[in-house]
Each structure stands twice: as structure tokens, then as C-alpha cells.
């Protein structure tokens, strides 16, 4: 705790004059960019219409209309004012948050521009966002549990893939989705156990151990898929979890349809966010996990079993990755396809870094990446001259910028990736 406090103090001191001015210029540049890219291509007569009701349901809220030109102009002016304020007065600890808000404005400006003279269902966009965010966020949670205890986990992808396959097969055989989900969770845990053995017991380089699991999992799932699942189609038909509409809450305008009309996986994600946050930060177990990740030797001296704590954390992480994997088949498509996780485990890793190893932060990052993903699928509707590939690159580029320490800093646990040798 003392360490984290001192780091926080340092952070405030580090808001130097150059950084203040640089950020101010960045704010102004965002404004200029909004003006050059978006505003200048929109007529003053155009209106943007955002639908606020989920598609296929009765309209409760009226559509949200705005003048495209003046809205965008307002955005640029806001950016410019905040930029000047930052340069001359300094917004201190608010500056990073304002940067976030301005980037949000930029994205919103993009939508206003893209949908100028057209109509875009904003509610539908956000509903897809949360769907896309589920595997990313859950993958990030899996990563947090492992890394907080000091084990680097780049095998989230492999764990998810294996879980997706097993969840499908067991779900199809048992005709019970819950049994399938449980099987998926156990599979994730098994894979994590392998990672734990390699990296904790045999002290293998953890990145290599993760690579082993990824190769193994890709091979294993593709093999079993080709040999059984694609041949016996009744093994590949588990169905998907129904949508639960939570009474009362679902009727809240805007938020209700996004958060409270979903499958079990979205609720699991929200509950796990709270549970992992509380467990890591407010329980004895969490304190032990963090201690083992920060300074295993000290933890060992105090009588904490470093190995057992790490095994436990890694396997719980695998369990969460198992839920994420099951989402692909039981929550989304209802069928297993070769390599269907398509890199979501690695985006999960990025979301974890982006959220600075905290569940709430990772959830935010997951939503952000999910938003990029869901927007990417809608670009064709908006007829925006930007290829969706570039939008999909955004999460990766953003993560690299973050890692470079330009904007904030992601601080891993001190003993992350270092095997513990008991003396």
C-alpha cells in the first residue's frame, strides 16, 4: 500500500510544465482535427439523427436530432478552449480525464459526421458494443487474476479457444447449456493449470509457457474440430443462452436495453467486475495475491504460501477465461468454428494493460475496444471513406501508445513474470 501511495504522489509531482503544454497542444490539435476532417465536409443544413430505441422494439424515446455542422463546430471550440486553459492555467490532475473526454468527443464527432443527413441507431450500436466487449473484458479479468499474482499470461487466447470447443461438445451432448458452461470453465482451468505447472513448478519462461499453451490449444481444437465436431454435427449444436430481461431495470430508457436485456454472460461480466475488484482489494485473499505478485519473498517470510497462492490465482484466471471462451459458442454463435476466438484473447491482454491491471479499468477498456469493433461493422452503413480495418487497428495502436508511457502509464506488479525460488 505504501508503495502505491508513493507512486501516486510521484505522479502528481511529475505533471511538469512541458507535459502541461504538450497536452494543451494535443487538446487544440484534436479540435483542429475535428474541424478539418469532419466539420469542413458537412453542410450547415444537414442534420444527424440518432435512434435511441433498440431495433425491433417499440419506440419509447423520440429520435435525437441535431444540426451536424453546429454540433461539430461546438466540439472544436470546446477543444480549443480547454487546450488554451490547459496551456495557460494547467488543469493538473484533471488533464488526463479531459484528454479522455476530448477523445470521446472526437469519436462522437466522427459519428455525427458519418451519420450527417442520415440516421444511425445509437442504441443498437451500444447494444452490440457490450456484446463484443464480453470476451475482451472477461479475457482481461483472467489476465488480471494471473498477473496480480506474478504470472504473465499470454495464453488467454488458447484457454478461451479450448473452453469454447469443450463447452460446445459437452453442451451438445448433455443438452444443457449450464453443463456446457461449467465444462468450458473447467477446461479453461485445466489449461491454466498447465500454465501454472510450467511457470510455477518448472520455472519455465512464462511467455514460452504461454506460447506452448497457445500452439497446443490451436492444434488441439482444430484437430478435434476436424475429426469430430465437423463430422458429427450433433456435437456442434448446443444452442445459445436465452436473453434475460431483468424486470423494472430493463425499462430504464437508454441504459436498460444496453445492460439489462442480455444473456447470462453480460451479467457474469458485470458481477465478476465487482467480485474481482472486491476480492483483490478488500479481502485477505486479495491482499495475499497482490503481495505475492509484488514481493514474493516478503510474502513468503510472512508465512504466505507463494506457490499455492499463485496456483490458485492462475487457475481462477483460467476459470474466467473459460467463461469468456464459452461465450463464443454458447453466448454468441451456438457453434464451434476453427480458430473462432480470432485474437480476442490478445485484445483482452491489451484491455488489461489499458485498464492498468484493475477490473473496472479493464471493463472500460473492454467497452472501448468493443465499441471500435461494433463501429467497424457499421462503417459500411455510414458510407464513411475509412476502411474498417483501420478502425479495428485502433485498440492495438492505442495500447502501444499507452505502453510507451505517452499518456499515463500501465504499472505491472513488481514480480510479474519472475518465477519464485524458495530458498
Amino acid at each position: 500500500m505504501i508503495k502505491s501511495l508513493s507512486i501516486r504522489q510521484k505522479k502528481y509531482e511529475e505533471v511538469s510544465k512541458t507535459r502541461q503544454i504538450t497536452l494543451g497542444i494535443v487538446f487544440i490539435l484534436i479540435g483542429v482535427l475535428i474541424h478539418l476532417v469532419f466539420t469542413s465536409k458537412v453542410d450547415a443544413t444537414m442534420t444527424t439523427t440518432f435512434g435511441l430505441n433498440p431495433g425491433g422494439q417499440e419506440k419509447i424515446l423520440p429520435d435525437w436530432q441535431m444540426n451536424s455542422y453546429y454540433t461539430l463546430l461546438g466540439f472544436s471550440v470546446t477543444c480549443a478552449i480547454l487546450g488554451l486553459a490547459q496551456i495557460f492555467f494547467g488543469l493538473r490532475q484533471w488533464s488526463n480525464r479531459i484528454l479522455g473526454i476530448l477523445i470521446g468527443l472526437f469519436v462522437f464527432g466522427f459519428l455525427v459526421w458519418g451519420a450527417a443527413g442520415k440516421s444511425l441507431n445509437l442504441e443498437g450500436l451500444f447494444m452490440t458494443t457490450i456484446q463484443r466487449a464480453v470476451p475482451i473484458t472477461l479475457g482481461a479479468f483472467a489476465g488480471i487474476l494471473c498477473e496480480k499474482s506474478g504470472v504473465v499470461n499470454i495464453a488467454i487466447e488458447g484457454m478461451m479457444l479450448a473452453a469454447a470447443l469443450v463447452a460446445t461438445i459437452i453442451g451438445s451432448i448433455s443438452h444443457n447449456l449450464y453443463v456446457g458452461l461449467l465444462a468450458g470453465m473447467l477446461t479453461g482451468m485445466m489449461m491454466a493449470w498447465l500454465l501454472a505447472i510450467l511457470s510455477i513448478k518448472y520455472k519455465t519462461n512464462q511467455i514460452i509457457a504461454g506460447t506452448v499453451i497457445n500452439i497446443f490449444s490451436i492444434g488441439l481444437t482444430s484437430y478435434i474440430s476436424a475429426r469430430f465436431v465437423q463430422v458429427y454435427q450433433n456435437l456442434n449444436n448446443p444452442g445459445i443462452f436465452p436473453i434475460w430481461r431483468i424486470p423494472v431495470l430493463k425499462d430504464i430508457p437508454i441504459i436498460g436495453p444496453i445492460f439489462f436485456q442480455n444473456s447470462i454472460f453480460v451479467y457474469a461480466m458485470l458481477i465478476l467486475m465487482v467480485v474481482i475488484h472486491v476480492a483483490l482489494n478488500h479481502t485477505r485473499w486479495g491482499l495475499r495475491v497482490r503481495a505475492v505478485g509484488e514481493h514474493p519473498k516478503a510474502a513468503d517470510t510472512l508465512g504466505i504460501n507463494v506457490f499455492r497462492t499463485r496456483y490458485m490465482a492462475v487457475m481462477l484466471g483460467g476459470l474466467v477465461a473459460g467463461i469468456a471462451g464459452s461465450f463464443f459458442t454458447l453466448g454468441s454463435v451456438g457453434r464451434f468454428d476453427k480458430l473462432m476466438t480470432s485474437g480476442k484473447g490478445f485484445i483482452g491482454l491489451a484491455a488489461m494493460l489499458f485498464g492498468n491491471y484493475t477490473p473496472t479499468g479493464s471493463f472500460g477498456a473492454g467497452m472501448l475496444f468493443g465499441f471500435a469493433d461494433s463501429l467497424g461493422t457499421r462503417l459500411s452503413i455510414l458510407s464513411v471513406p475509412i476502411p474498417s480495418d483501420f478502425l479495428l487497428m485502433a485498440p492495438y495502436i492505442a495500447t502501444m501508445i499507452l505502453l510507451a508511457g505517452v499518456v499515463g502509464k500501465s504499472t505491472p506488479p513488481a514480480a510479474d513474470g519472475v518465477p519464485y525460488e524458495k530458498e
Binding site: V152, Q206, V212, Y396
Partner: protein, 424 residues
């Protein structure tokens, strides 16, 4: 100046102490025999596990076991025998057929008999480059997990040079296209290397991110600027004839000059790493960055150099594959090379020559697996499983030692100091 000299001597002494500690302890515990034994056992065990896996996923074996235990055992044995002999025939060729073909002297039959082995060499070629790429990074203490993306970019730049420039003679066009591949891949390696040296951003995460950026970028290129004009598929225009790597045999045999270039690069990388000052500096940074710093080596610069060269080698893998085999860029040209290359580097103990043999093994396995899929109906993916198991045993030799009751070496020898790689 005169005052500084003794200081420098101290630094040099510290440096040599550090180095000799590492090197001597390594030489003692690692006789040639020992260093070959573990990979050998790992490969054998991997194949055994593959066989077991093959049997337990075979439905017919279970039915046979139901009739009688002997039947089941016989069928299990037969399954393994059929599949592994198919693997061998697909990878090396049928020995009987080869002898017959040589006796008959018929050109067509000889070609057919030697087809499998030449295909194996074709499959080996990109593996050599990818393995060298990762091994060179490892030697400098950086973990290039982004070979996959570098291969993609290398292939894209090389294909562009291959089709865009017309009228060049082959002896200029081919090196030019190869160089373009190296530059493309090198750039993709330089960025994470630079980020690591300048900002400390971890190269593992950054190369993974760069992989996905590369996928999306080539996806866009193939749907947009690089798309073949007359199709709607994601495929680039075919490269000019002058950029194609020469092939030595009539058509079904795709064996091309790329293999010899790859072998040349094994020697080149070996010389670079072990016989030049640059290579010495790189290895120094890999073994002990602090000692290297004391000796006045610029650690950051060497990390950038290592990542760039590593990326360039991976880019060459993509270029060679495009110029030698496909002659155009398809969507999924380098599926799986990225992870496999890590296995190759470790299997070859990060030594270029070792990597060459490891690549030969993986190339033959991959090529043989296609035949195995046709003859024995076993999905090619079993090779990935076998590769993963081999990699696991190489990375955790203690498991192999436990299985075969080998003696522990005095000091735990780790392939890479974990402290160099963990965390940010």
C-alpha cells in the same frame, strides 16, 4: 583522459568477470552430448504423445477394444503404423519407390519419387528464416513474438516490388524484392525495438499488437490498393516472371533457389553472431545487459538493432515464400509461423545451425502431415499438437529429466534469464 583510464580498466574487469562466470559455467555443464540429448528426447516423446493422441481420438479403436483387448491393441498399433508411415512417405518419400524409380531411369517417375523430399525442403525454407529471426532476438535478450506480423509485412512489400517494377533483369529484381521484404519486416521489428529501448514498452506486448496491426493492414491492402484488378478475391497481382525465384525441376516440383538462400543466411547469421563485434555486442546485451553497459556497449542501440534484424529475417521468410512458391500474396500466407518460430529457436538452442536442423524437422513434419491427412485421415493439426509438446519439453527440460530419469545438471540451466523478459 589519463584519469579515466583506470576506471575503464575496472569496468572491463567487471565485464570480463561477469562474462567468464556465465560462459565457463555454461561450458562445463553443457557438454555437446547433453545439449543434444534433451532436444532428441523431446522430439521422440513428442512423437510418442502424438501417437497416443492419435489412438485415443480414433473411434474405430474403441469399437475394436469392445470386441477384444487384443483386437483393440492390434488396431491401435495399426493406426499408429499407418499414420506415421504416411507421415514418413509424405515427408521423405517411399524408399522402395525411390529405388525403383532410380532403377527405371525414367525422368517422370524419378521426379515423382523425389517430390515429397523436395516439398519438405520448400516447407523448410520459411521456417529457417523465421527461426533465425527469433533466435537472433533471443541471443540479444529480446523476445520477438511478432514474426507472424513481420512475415506478413515482408511478404506484402516484396510482392509489391515483385509486380510493380517491370523490365528489370532477374539478377536485380530478385535481390530487390528480397530486400524490400527485409526492409518491410525490419520496419515492423524496428518499431517495437525502438519503443523498448526508448520508452521501456515491453516488446512482447508490442509485437503482439504489431501482429494484429499487420493482419489488418494486409487485409486492407489486399482488399484495396494491392488487389488483383480482375478479381474480387483477396489476392494480389502475380509477381513478374523476373522476380520469381528460379526453380530447378519441371513443374510439379516447386523446389526453388530460396532454400539455398536460406542455407546461406544460416551461415551469414552464424558469422554475424559469433565472429563479428556487432554480434558479440548483441550477445553481450543478451547475456548480461548490466555488464554490457559497464563495458561501454550501448544497450538500447543493440536492442533496436536486434529487433530490426530479427524483423528483417522474418520479413525475408515472407518474401521467400511469395517469390518462390505462391508468386502472389494471399490472405493467410503465414498462418502459424509466428508461434512455430519460437519453438524452432528454442529447439535449435538459439544457434543458427541448430535452428536449421529444427526447421528441417518442422518442415518435413508439416509436409508429411498433408500426406498423413490424405492416407490416414488424420487432420494436419496433429502436427501443431506435437510441436507444442516438443516446445514444452524443450522449455521445461525438467519434465524430460523426470520422464527418463536423467540426472539433474548441477545448476538449473535456463534458456533465458527470466528477469530479462518479465514485466514491463
Amino acid at each position: 583522459m589519463t584519469k579515466k583510464k583506470p576506471e575503464k580498466n575496472i569496468a572491463v574487469n567487471i565485464f570480463f568477470e561477469e562474462m567468464s562466470k556465465r560462459i565457463n559455467s555454461r561450458n562445463e555443464k553443457r557438454s555437446t552430448w547433453q545439449s543434444l540429448l534433451i532436444p532428441f528426447l523431446a522430439i521422440i516423446t513428442g512423437l510418442i504423445f502424438g501417437a497416443i493422441f492419435n489412438v485415443i481420438t480414433n473411434v474405430d479403436v474403441y469399437t475394436a477394444f469392445k470386441t477384444s483387448f487384443i483386437d483393440g491393441l492390434a488396431l491401435a498399433w495399426k493406426t499408429v503404423a499407418v499414420s506415421y508411415s504416411a507421415l514418413f512417405k509424405g515427408a521423405v518419400g517411399d524408399p522402395r519407390f525411390i529405388i525403383e524409380a532410380l532403377r527405371s531411369g525414367d525422368k517422370v517417375i524419378i521426379t515423382r519419387a523425389f517430390y515429397p523430399i523436395t516439398e519438405s525442403l520448400v516447407a523448410t525454407t520459411p521456417y529457417i528464416f523465421a527461426g533465425l529471426a527469433v533466435a537472433l532476438g533471443f541471443k540479444a535478450g529480446v523476445f520477438n513474438i511478432g514474426a507472424e506480423g513481420q512475415i506478413f509485412i515482408g511478404a506484402a512489400t516484396s510482392v509489391f516490388v515483385g509486380y510493380y517494377f517491370t523490365g528489370l533483369p532477374a539478377y536485380i529484381h530478385i535481390p530487390f524484392a528480397l530486400l524490400a521484404g527485409a526492409v518491410g519486416g525490419g520496419l515492423w521489428g524496428f518499431i517495437p525495438g525502438w519503443l523498448k529501448a526508448k520508452t521501456g514498452g515491453h516488446e512482447v506486448i508490442n509485437t503482439i499488437m504489431m501482429n494484429y496491426i499487420a493482419f489488418l493492414l494486409s487485409d486492407w491492402l489486399l482488399r484495396g490498393p494491392l488487389r488483383r484488378p480482375d478479381t474480387y478475391q483477396s489476392v494480389s497481382p502475380a509477381i513478374q516472371k523476373s522476380a520469381e525465384l528460379p526453380r530447378f525441376f519441371p513443374d510439379p516440383i516447386r523446389f526453388h533457389a530460396g532454400f539455398f538462400i536460406a542455407v546461406g543466411f544460416i551461415i551469414l547469421v552464424y558469422i554475424f553472431m559469433f565472429k563479428t563485434t556487432w554480434g558479440f555486442n548483441l550477445r553481450m546485451v543478451g547475456v548480461n545487459p548490466n555488464a554490457a553497459k559497464y563495458a561501454g556497449i550501448n544497450v538500447g542501440q543493440n536492442i533496436i538493432l536486434a529487433m530490426t534484424l530479427s524483423g528483417a529475417l522474418a520479413g525475408m521468410a515472407g518474401a521467400i515464400e511469395v517469390l518462390g512458391v505462391n508468386h502472389a500474396l494471399f490472405g493467410a500466407i503465414s498462418s502459424g509461423y509466428g508461434f512455430d518460430s519460437i519453438a524452432l529457436a528454442l529447439l535449435g538452442n538459439n544457434n543458427p545451425i541448430g535452428v536449421g536442423f529444427a526447421a528441417l524437422l518442422f518442415g518435413t513434419l508439416t509436409n508429411g502431415a498433408t500426406k498423413m491427412q490424405m492416407d490416414a485421415r488424420i487432420p494436419v493439426e496433429i502436427i501443431s499438437i506435437i510441436q507444442a509438446i516438443i516446445l514444452m519439453f524443450i522449455a521445461a527440460p525438467a519434465i524430460i529429466r523426470t520422464i527418463y530419469r536423467l540426472k539433474e545438471p548441477k545448476e538449473q540451466d535456463q534458456l533465458l534469464a527470466a528477469s530479462n523478459l518479465g514485466g514491463n
